[in-house]
Homo-oligomer: 201 residues x 2
């Protein structure tokens, strides 16, 4: 029996995904919200953890990594459900050592296939996400630029960003110009829109 842990922030969609797997006689499914206590998650046994890459919890890279540390210790593979067109989110999942990548627009059969492959310790990539995975390698921004951008996206002013990162106003402005140029944006707001769309921040 493959033990599957299903993590999704919304109860209704979580129950729905669980219902899709109910008929498979080789799976035993348990579902939990994203906000679950990591300690409690660690105590659960699972061979495959299926995680939706969207939603509040999923944006939190630390949470993803925490889940991954749990995975590793329990010899459990991470399978992510990804929205197409968001290479940044795929990159975060890849960096968090995900083994499986299934498109949220896939058929239930793909999800089953992915779960079985990951349970066998194999990598599984839904072919419809191949282009996004390729693009995810071409991250245009540096780690420092990403920090500036995420603070700006939360509505922080240049002064606030400068204070938080212990840098001068001029340096922050230079970073913002570089970000705008590198993302091919028309202005800061456009740079944030493009980067959020791609899942970089």
């Amino acid at each position: 029996m493959i033990q599957v842990l299903l993590v999704h922030h919304f109860g209704l969609l979580r129950s729905g995904l669980a219902a899709l797997l109910n008929d498979a006689s080789d799976l035993e499914v348990r579902d939990v919200p994203w906000s679950s206590d990591p300690g409690r998650l660690r105590a659960l046994r699972a061979d495959v953890c299926v995680v939706d890459m969207d939603g509040p919890g999923a944006q939190d890279v630390a949470g993803m990594a925490e889940l991954c540390r749990h995975m590793t210790s329990a010899k459990c593979g991470l399978l992510v459900l990804a929205t197409p067109g968001r290479p940044g989110a795929l990159r975060r999942a890849y960096d968090a050592q995900a083994l499986g990548f299934v498109n949220k627009d896939a058929t239930p059969q793909k999800l089953l296939e992915g779960i079985r492959q990951v349970a066998a310790g194999k990598r599984y990539v839904d072919e419809s996400l191949a282009h996004d995975l390729l693009r995810s390698a071409e991250m245009p921004l540096t780690a420092r630029e990403l920090s500036v951008l995420s603070l700006a996206a939360k509505g922080a002013t240049v002064s606030e960003i400068a204070r938080r990162l212990h840098l001068s106003h001029g340096t922050i402005r230079n970073y913002m110009s570089a970000i705008t140029r590198k993302t091919g944006a028309r202005n800061r707001i456009d740079a944030i829109r493009i980067s959020q769309g791609a899942g970089w921040v």
Copy 2:
């Protein structure tokens, strides 16, 4: 038999929601993507249409209204699945004459309850969305301010917005200041973040 039309942008979640309703002997469920041809949707018969308020299609008020016109002609009630904390999205659904409002974090039982109420021509409001519905009445921005904000959120410059709305640069700047003040934001980017979070744009 209640005929249910399930509209969701992602195949996997759509199939999952359909699976939740499969066991109910009084329902007949059919599921379609958001991008479906409106003409084809209009040709379908349904007593209740269940629509996820998030995702690309749902932001498109015209699409929602189109679906609603279909609903009315077929005597079909609209039930929306809503993310809590987004009063603006609820308001759009209300304006589009939705009858049912179910929290995406609800149990499958709530969805079933909602579908049966809406099929009987009754309004159904998940009590966990009551606060958001109250807040949705307190929309702080005017229609013109919303137009300016949505263009700005797409990355348009002040000049582009001025040209699109046939207004002067100064007027656009005044609108942006009013928007920032009314949303309690620190700056334009923060105003966009707050308004998108609440589902106003």
